[in-house]
Symmetry: C2
Subunit: 255 residues, 2 copies
Amino acid sequence: MPRYALLVEYDGRPFAGWQRQADQPSVQGAIEAALARLEKRDHTIAAAGRTDAGVHARGQVAHCDMEKAWDPFRLSEALNFHLKPAPVAIRACAAVSDDWHARFSAHERRYLFRLLVRRAPATLEAGQVWRVMNPLSLEAMRAGAAHLIGQHDFTTFRSTMCQAASPVKTMDEIRIEQTDTGAGTEFRFHLRARSFLHNQVRSIVGTLERVGAGSWAPEDVRSALEARDRAACGPVCPPDGLYLMGVGYADDPFS
Amino acid sequence: MPRYALLVEYDGRPFAGWQRQADQPSVQGAIEAALARLEKRDHTIAAAGRTDAGVHARGQVAHCDMEKAWDPFRLSEALNFHLKPAPVAIRACAAVSDDWHARFSAHERRYLFRLLVRRAPATLEAGQVWRVMNPLSLEAMRAGAAHLIGQHDFTTFRSTMCQAASPVKTMDEIRIEQTDTGAGTEFRFHLRARSFLHNQVRSIVGTLERVGAGSWAPEDVRSALEARDRAACGPVCPPDGLYLMGVGYADDPFS
């Protein structure tokens, strides 16, 4: 069966997450339902990152197997037609080989977390940023983040529900930018790694927020990491500000 | 009665516009209902710009009259509490004199229009940008916009429903920026004038889009303007991408 890679963008707000569920809306379910309008049968697609409820994506990657050979552009157009009005869009589609796998062929995931510091509630960005009322120190958060770069046992920053075989991961980058938007101060956390543990980004950003607020010293991040103990983690932040931005492959199907 | 200026941000999607209406949700109605929770009586507030259905604001300005003297910060906090969960927030509040008027004291309005060029439907920005599928020339749109700067009779770019006494307005600025967002090309139109006619921004952007697409030559904008005829206008674009960004006062109450 011809296999296609899909570059997927979605607003996570109305969904219980990526993964198909019996009685709740999911991104996977929405795409599989659109595929069933094109080829009438059950479809099961695989994705690079199974995002949680409320988490967004600019560059999720999934793959599907089709019976007939589709022109990739026409496949993406047909899917976008049937996906409406759900806030899910296929940004690109490419034919890939049978052994290419959206999840197992991926060697890098890039996440963005958006944090908005201001007193007033978010309106235009409601559900798309984590709004925090206390001021944050960019320098302190950068110093705290530096302790997490490289290969570590991330047990502290991993959900107790995490199913990964090992808690050892290599964090390639945590880059933090600060911008004055005119209606608040936005902090953007860019995280990059081969793969992430369950809740790892939200555990890290929630902890760094405590560092930025001054409740934690930057060195406390190292102590928390070295404790290898979930109880040593700072508060896990909400999903609202989290975006799967992109997935890296040795041979990028969309380039 | 003590008068307070309010700096208001809102997501226009769920509203039939700024103006209070008998049986539809409005931004004015939402704020007046919140005021009634603080001082139990009918409230009527005035705003600098009566935005249409689906139009957003970062920096709308309104004023309210209260019976008791409120600390401005506490008034904004109390309003934000009662506005929840509507996507309306009071970003700032300031005491002003009795003769200060959000609409009549204003000497400048600044609007932003966001246009996203890409093939796939908008998801994260759905309802917050105008998505256009054809590529656009920034240079052509800038050349077209140049014909509109200065004082003109804007009858062509004015809704037939417009109630303004005169169609003559002075456009101080139309600045157009282009950015590659990684998930499309975004054009941002920044417009600035003492005041605008009804549908003026959407008429101008809709016309400039035709110029960018190559259907109109930049000089056609001048011919359309000189025609002083509504029928000479390009298509009026949707409200989704329009934001009232700020209002200028001789004595800015929030600075």
